[in-house]
């Protein structure tokens, strides 16, 4: 890597130029994060009047609690299914749109719409469609003999939040996949076609491996999205219910802290989430960039 060496006339100028970034990081990341760390070692009484320092007791209690372990499992199922659903649908659309010449832009325009919708609004829209009493989908499904009720059935609730969260993310994945597909050299595909490779064969042996950097990047982004940005979707649809079936880790932080008033446990959960984010980021920057090469 080439770096340009800059020389400053004043000794303080570089520090002054760095200051805004450093101050923003300190105020909006380091300060709240250290507050959460401190809070995670405190334990409040039910009325919030007193708090005692308990070291790592909050963390110990969390890992003994079956609800927390169940929530981890829920998060895993939720984020993996959201990622797989949104990425596979987006890849399908991207390969199809990539074949088009004249109609490419009009399809792209429509497929990008959901990206402009906020997560909470996406949740409300799907809540409308899946609503057991007025929704259109339960009406159609009951005609087919399936009794849809995401208020009672935990599987239905999970499908609802996965669909709503994945729908929102399809546009993003679609744009990245389309850009990835367009950057694949046409000559490779032509050469394979001359050698007699069918369209399916060309996709799986040339296009898909060449897309792997995009796929890996999107996989990390989607997992992070599903784990940390879907609070609005869950809050607007199921609120973690029924019987904790859609209570993902981020939602549990909110529920335990602001509904259950257990601030110590809530802070301990945020610290664990922060650790997960750090691990995911390290994975994204180190492991993936080394593994994906062709």
């Amino acid at each position: 890597m080439q770096t340009k060496r800059m020389t400053f006339s004043s000794r303080w100028l570089p520090y002054a130029l760095l200051a805004p970034q450093v101050i923003i990081t300190l105020i909006f990341f380091v300060w709240p994060a250290s507050q959460a760390l401190w809070q995670s070692m405190l334990r409040q009484d039910p009325f919030g009047l007193r708090s005692t320092f308990v070291w790592f007791r909050n963390f110990e209690r969390l890992f003994e609690e079956p609800h927390y372990l169940a929530s981890m499992k829920t998060t895993l199922i939720f984020s993996i299914s959201t990622t797989i659903l949104s990425m596979s649908v987006a890849l399908l659309f991207a390969t199809m749109v990539n074949r088009m010449i004249r109609s490419r832009d009009s399809y792209t325009t429509f497929l990008v719409w959901p990206y402009a919708v906020a997560p909470a609004i996406a949740g409300v829209l799907w809540w409308f469609i899946f609503n057991p009493s007025v929704g259109i989908l339960p009406y159609v499904l009951s005609g087919l003999g399936y009794d849809w009720n995401h208020r009672l059935d935990s599987g239905d609730a999970m499908i609802l939040v996965v669909v709503a969260a994945a729908w929102k993310q399809i546009s993003y994945n679609f744009l990245f996949f389309l850009a990835g597909l367009q950057s694949i050299p046409q000559s490779l595909i032509e050469a394979a076609a001359i050698d007699g490779a069918s369209r399916t064969k060309r996709f799986w042996t040339i296009v898909f491996p060449l897309l792997s950097p995009t796929t890996f990047f999107l996989m990390v982004v989607n997992i992070v999205y599903a784990m940390f940005d879907t609070f609005g979707v869950i809050h607007a649809t199921t609120e973690g219910g029924p019987a904790q079936a859609t209570n993902i880790l981020v939602y549990k932080v909110f529920r335990d802290g602001f509904v259950g008033n257990n601030l110590g446990s809530s802070a301990a959960q945020s610290v664990i989430l922060m650790a997960i984010v750090i691990v995911l980021t390290v994975v994204q920057f180190r492991w993936i960039e080394r593994r994906v090469n062709y």
């Binding site: 399809y107 007025v134 259109i136």
Partner: protein, 74 residues
């Protein structure tokens, strides 16, 4: 394109049109729902055709605001 594959292209168009229909459907439903009075949603399954209260609803939201804050978003 590498080869001329008429049926493949047709198939791709069908998939894309279905896909766009599914992707745009929630937004369509929201727009349709915004043209009905709130009583419609208590009476039965959500309509898929525009109602007659669109002007009234948008007028209320933009110029007057809702009096019962915190009500369901219908």
């Amino acid at each position: 394109m590498v080869e001329n594959d008429r049926w493949g292209t047709l198939f791709a168009h069908i998939i894309l049109i279905l896909g766009v229909a599914i992707i745009v459907f929630p937004i369509y439903v929201a727009v349709i729902a915004s043209t009905h009075e709130s009583g419609t949603f208590l009476r039965g399954v959500m309509p898929l055709l525009p109602g007659s209260h669109g002007w009234e609803n948008y007028n209320t939201i933009i110029f007057e605001g809702r009096s019962n804050a915190g009500a369901p978003p219908i």
